[in-house]
């Protein structure tokens, strides 16, 4: 793991130097206070509870209202190893052979209603995340399988004890979804935060008009001195991509934090010239096809494998990247990471074969063997977001036609889409899903694929103890070579032998924004660095 981290660190140093060279003049500037940041968001949050949700639709408008215990360095958000304290004063070194972490909290942090943030709030928050009571959803529960116990040793100190040393613990803790909630509110109602907002972040919630916007104003007693720089922000919901592009072009919004396809970047740059700045990055985000294992014939691994074999991923990478925010062919791990499969290793997996024709012949054979008739009809459940969901959905339907399957797209807005996904029922046959993670941390990022009674975000409704075991072994071994070997076995089982879920293409992030927006740096995740505490507007 250390070797991996050092390689990532080296890559990061190089990237940082390049970024620093590119942004040198901007970095040298002194931030100024004032102004309202307007930004567009492609979807509305399904709820306000960060512990339950996994979507940018929550992070972008809601994260500015919350603090977290630790976070990625806002000046260096692309690094998978550079973490700093938020409510914690610093990121502590572990003790007891790497099994104990003691976090000292700031004593000047307050919630928006004036109560002081104490260790009790942190403990109550992580109790909800790691050991949620029945009926309370926690999307990142599986990230903390190494945690044994945690407690408040005094009003401003929290101690975490681990079962075993784990390099994945600190990145898991730094997830931007781990909003610190008020212990008092959680004691009254564990689900209060699904519909209410009360945090200790840089901004205070002021208004939510469903379908229109969410606004926030500056937290006057924010615990990071001098921040935030903005007086407030307005997050405007705009489902249609063309509308969001036009909003930036027309000056109604300054930025969209998720990402635009290449065409929109070209249009904005052509129209606005120097008034637009473009930041680009690989994206720790991938669309998955999720066959519902409760619904025949998708309970049959042969059928799921056939779905994967039909997809021309290598070709799709070339042409879809021209019209959508997807680009890179990869397996379960963020491409380019030392734990990711090489192109040769990928070609060994069903659906990544070099010979597409042979792949589709095999797919037809498997369907025939499974008794699926030619022209079999089913619905592809999809999210009502253009980029890249509907585009990739349309592409997949065409791919499956090549093996005699007729899929029809069934699109739902974000809220109902997640309700359907989480229903643990036969309400969908095959659905689009995604695995977008914050900090690049493949050992935990692949928790999406472990059994649904362990992972809070596996919506394919299966249990696979072999995968679970591989996952546990990967996370326990400190040997990077062994981690890589186990990851290949995990990948082969998840994507090929069982084809539990199908990985499509990894995303590529392009953010064209108004040049007066400063203090925000792109990262490989559209979840990171979104509390807006460091953002300022140049006059």
């Amino acid at each position: 793991m250390q070797r991996i981290q050092s390689r990532i660190g080296l890559a990061w140093v190089v990237t940082s130097l390049l970024l620093a060279a590119a942004c040198g003049p901007a970095l040298a500037e002194t931030p100024t206070h004032g102004g309202i940041l307007t930004f567009v968001v492609p979807a509305e949050p399904p709820s306000f509870d960060g512990h339950r949700e996994t979507t940018f639709a929550l992070i972008h408008p809601i994260a500015p209202f919350y603090s977290v215990l630790i976070r990625v360095n806002p000046d260096n958000p692309g690094s998978p190893t550079d973490f700093v304290g938020d409510l914690a004063l610093e990121v502590p070194e572990p003790t007891d052979n790497g099994t104990t972490y003691t976090f000292k909290l700031r004593q000047n942090a307050t919630f928006a209603d004036g109560q002081r943030v104490t260790a009790d709030d942190v403990v109550a928050t992580f109790n909800k995340i790691i050991f949620p009571p029945a009926g309370v959803a926690s999307a990142r529960r599986a990230f903390f399988s190494m945690v044994d116990t945690f407690y408040a040793s005094d009003a401003f100190t929290v101690v975490f004890k681990l079962h075993h040393p784990s390099a994945a613990f600190i990145p898991a803790l730094a997830s931007p979804f781990n909003f610190i909630y008020s212990a008092k509110q959680l004691a009254q109602d564990m689900r209060w935060y699904e519909h209410q907002v009360l945090g200790s972040g840089p901004f205070i919630f002021t208004e939510h008009q469903p379908g229109a916007f969410i606004t926030g104003r500056r937290h006057p007693n924010y615990h990071h001195a001098g921040q935030p720089y903005l007086d407030g922000f307005r997050a405007i919901f705009a489902k249609k991509q063309s509308l969001r592009v036009q909003a930036i072009r027309g000056g109604r919004a300054m930025i969209e934090f998720r990402g635009f396809p290449p065409k929109s970047r070209q249009d904005l740059v052509r129209a606005l010239g120097e008034a637009i700045t473009v930041q680009e990055s690989d994206w720790n985000c991938v669309l998955l096809v999720t066959p519902n294992h409760l619904v025949p014939p998708f309970d049959d691994a042969r059928v799921r494998r056939a779905l994967s074999l039909a997809i021309d991923r290598w070709g799709g990478s070339t042409y879809l990247s021209k019209i959508a925010v997807v680009k890179t062919v990869g397996g379960v791990v963020f491409p380019g990471h030392p734990l990711a499969a090489s192109a040769d290793e990928l070609r060994e997996i069903a659906g990544y074969w070099e010979d597409l024709e042979a792949s589709r012949i095999e797919a037809r054979r498997l369907l025939q063997q499974a008794g699926v008739p030619e022209g079999f009809r089913f619905k592809l459940h999809n999210r009502g977001v253009d980029q890249p969901y509907k585009i990739v959905g349309t592409w997949l339907i065409d791919q499956w036609r090549h093996i005699g399957l007729n899929a029809e797209q069934w699109v739902q807005p974000t809220g109902p889409f997640f309700q359907t996904l989480r229903s643990q029922s036969k309400r969908f046959a095959v659905s689009m899903d995604f695995n977008c993670q914050a900090v690049v941390n493949p050992l935990l990022d692949v928790s999406k694929f472990v059994s649904n009674d362990r992972s809070g975000i596996n919506y394919a409704n299966y249990q696979d103890r072999v995968l679970d075991d591989l996952f546990d072994r990967m996370n326990r071994t400190p040997d990077t070579a062994e981690q890589r070997r186990l990851m290949r076995r995990f990948e082969k089982r998840a994507l090929d032998e069982q084809a539990h879920m199908l990985v499509t293409l990894w995303w590529y992030r392009i953010i064209p924004h108004r040049s007066n927006v400063r203090g925000w740096t792109i990262s490989p995740s559209h979840y990171l660095n979104q509390d807006l505490s460091t953002v300022w507007l140049a006059p």
Partner: protein, 303 residues
Amino acid sequence: MTASEPPVQVAREATSGALTGVRLGRAALSWVRQKPLGAAGAVIVLGMLLVALLAPVIAPYDPVRNAFDRMHVPPSTAHWFGTDQFGRDVLSRLVYGARTAMLVGLVASFIGASLGLMLGVASAYFGGRFDLFFQRLMDIFMAFPLIIMALAIVSIFGTGAHNVIVAITVPFIPRCARVVRSSALAVRELPYIDAARACGFSHARIMLHHVAPNVMAPYLIMLTAFLGQAILLEASLSYLGLGVQEPTPAWGLMLQGGAEEYAESAPWMAIFPGLAITVSVFAFNLFGDAVRDTLDPRLRSTG
């Protein structure tokens, strides 16, 4: 004809049939002369129907098959109306889109108007508290604009062609029922209705055989008026992402997403579906107006 029928009678019937055909032809010609715009609308509507029926023969390409080696090809001899971002032929999608438009338009209009006819006739015929209650219910439905009501229904039932038909049908019902009821109220007071009652006919028989046939004029007027509206509504819902979904060819859907994004660099993606919607709605409205002028005695010219 049977062997026992006298030849004179057979000849008379044949002459009578020919005369009817001639009369119809003359009437049609006269209608075309009196309502040239309506006739033009009818021709376009007929053309659309033919295109929809013969789509597999007319369309040069598979409308849903992706062809990424032909993305954003401008109009040319190979692709008269160009291609979209998936390399699909725009003309072929327009041709198949006519099917979606006509299917949704015809089915929603017919069911909406027919249910409105039945409910309007029943409301007028029974009168009293039933009429009072029913009309207030209609008032509630009519308080919502067409598109708002359709949006609400799609939100409840979800997207897809069948749900779009339901969403368009429901708001049409009260509109037709209200118009038909006003005509049926007058019919209800006519002596032959009393005579039918005196003969002991059932309510259903009186309504179906004696009232409904006499309110067919407003029914047909509403039906033709609904056709254009239904096509426009379907296009609107699809444009908003609430109607039929990709890759189904539908005109409103073709205007959504890619057409907006590539409006500057590939304008053909927006122009041709836009034209198709405009021309079809215009044609249906022209045809509907002409039908109304012909069937409504107050608007009929004395010639």
